[in-house]
């Protein structure tokens, strides 16, 4: 039909423009959160950037398929976490042993200029290290919780029931604190 032949490319253009705008909006809104998420999965600064880009590619590909069954936020976190898990199995070669020095990612805010800031950075490193030592499902629950998602949102992302999430979180919070304390003591 001629009318369809004319409108089809126009429709495609509108679709592309929508995808483009949605992508830009999501990145503007979630860039820091996605970078924090990457830091929870891989040690190396270059790997984090790679992972961030892989997540961006995954989002770009997933936007046309988003039907609004879940909230946009939980949909985004689900994709980001899944890509992080599959990518981190491949990025393993630049392993955790290489992480020794904090990289540009960690120092970008100008660096510690006081003892308090230094202590805070150390604590943050301990937290990251403890999080990276968790199983994938625990890591996902903790990271989502730390990003401020409530139980129902974590349920949408992880597929766990809210009661399971509550139990898990209380155990994990305790475990993280213990891990941080033990590493703090060990480092002293």
């Amino acid at each position: 039909m001629p009318a369809e032949a004319i409108t089809q490319p126009a429709r495609e253009q509108v679709k592309d423009a929508n995808r483009h705008d949605t992508f830009l909006r999501l990145i503007a809104q979630y860039d820091p959160a996605l970078r924090r998420l990457a830091a929870g999965y891989v040690w190396h600064g270059a790997d984090r950037e790679d992972l961030f880009q892989e997540i961006a590619v995954g989002l770009w590909q997933a936007i046309p398929k988003f039907r609004g069954d879940a909230s946009e936020r939980t949909w985004l976190y689900r994709i980001a976490h899944n890509i992080a898990i599959s990518s981190s199995t491949r990025l393993h070669h630049r392993a955790r042993r290489e992480k020794t020095m904090p990289d540009a990612f960690d120092r970008a805010s100008g660096g510690p200029d006081s003892e308090q800031e230094l202590l805070r950075n150390e604590k943050r490193e301990l937290l990251l290290e403890a999080i990276r030592g968790l199983r994938a499902v625990d890591r996902q629950v903790v990271l989502l919780h730390l990003e401020g998602l409530d139980y129902s949102e974590i349920e949408e992302v992880s597929g766990l029931s809210q009661s399971a999430i509550a139990t898990r979180l209380s155990r994990l919070r305790y475990k993280l604190r213990k891990l941080m304390q033990s590493r703090e003591t060990r480092e002293l």
Binding site: F23, R36, Q61, I85, S86, H92, R96, A108, A136
Partner: protein
């Protein structure tokens, strides 16, 4: 400040170097996606072209040859077409598991993808290596018989099958041993990341 809030506050206070500029990221993403699509297209075209060229050349040689040698050339030509057909029909699964699902479903999809790739590599000897290898052996036997008929038995007639065997054995090792071992390592890493008691892999 209670422990939970401190953790959250610590987590959210992570500094990071520069936010990506949206438009730059769009370009980068488009480039990566296009690069991937183009790489797949180029690979498929190369495989098809190579199959057509090999099949055409070997068919020509078959026309000129006789007896067993002709049969060998025909088997090799048919193998080239068969391999590309098999690759296009069974060799290509979805490039990636759909990440828009919960962790368990996604893990299952990833594991299935690994298992599929491992199965495909383990069957390489049947659909990829054996057909042309058999063709080459038949052709070599034909040549040896032809040379024997005219009272010549050059050392090449004995050496070439040995070379083919070594070559195809290397191909078998590369696919079924080396590549499968790499995939199994990645698969078990995924399992330990998802299920391990206290994984710290990545």
């Amino acid at each position: 400040m209670n422990g939970r809030d401190e953790l959250r506050e610590l987590w959210c206070s992570q500094p990071y170097a520069g936010v990506a500029k949206g438009e730059e990221l769009v370009k980068l993403v488009a480039k990566r996606t296009q690069h991937f699509d183009r790489a797949i297209l180029v690979r498929n075209m190369l495989e098809c072209t190579a199959a057509v060229v090999v099949a055409a050349l070997l068919t020509q040689l078959a026309v000129r040859a006789h007896g067993l040698q002709r049969a060998g050339f025909i088997v090799i030509a048919a193998s080239a077409v068969w391999i590309v057909y098999y690759l296009l029909r069974y060799g290509r699964g979805p490039a990636n598991a759909d990440p828009d699902q919960d962790l368990n479903a996604f893990k299952r999809a990833l594991l299935e993808r690994y298992d599929r790739q491992i199965r495909l590599l383990k069957s390489v000897k049947y659909w990829y290596l054996l057909p042309p290898y058999i063709g080459l052996l038949i052709e070599s036997a034909g040549k040896l018989l032809n040379d024997a008929k005219v009272g010549q038995l050059p050392w090449r007639d004995f050496l070439l099958p040995l070379f083919y065997t070594a070559f195809f054995a290397f191909g078998w090792w590369l696919n079924e041993v080396h590549a499968v071992a790499r995939l199994r390592t990645e698969r078990s890493r995924l399992l330990s990341l998802a299920d391990g008691p206290n994984d710290s892999d990545a």
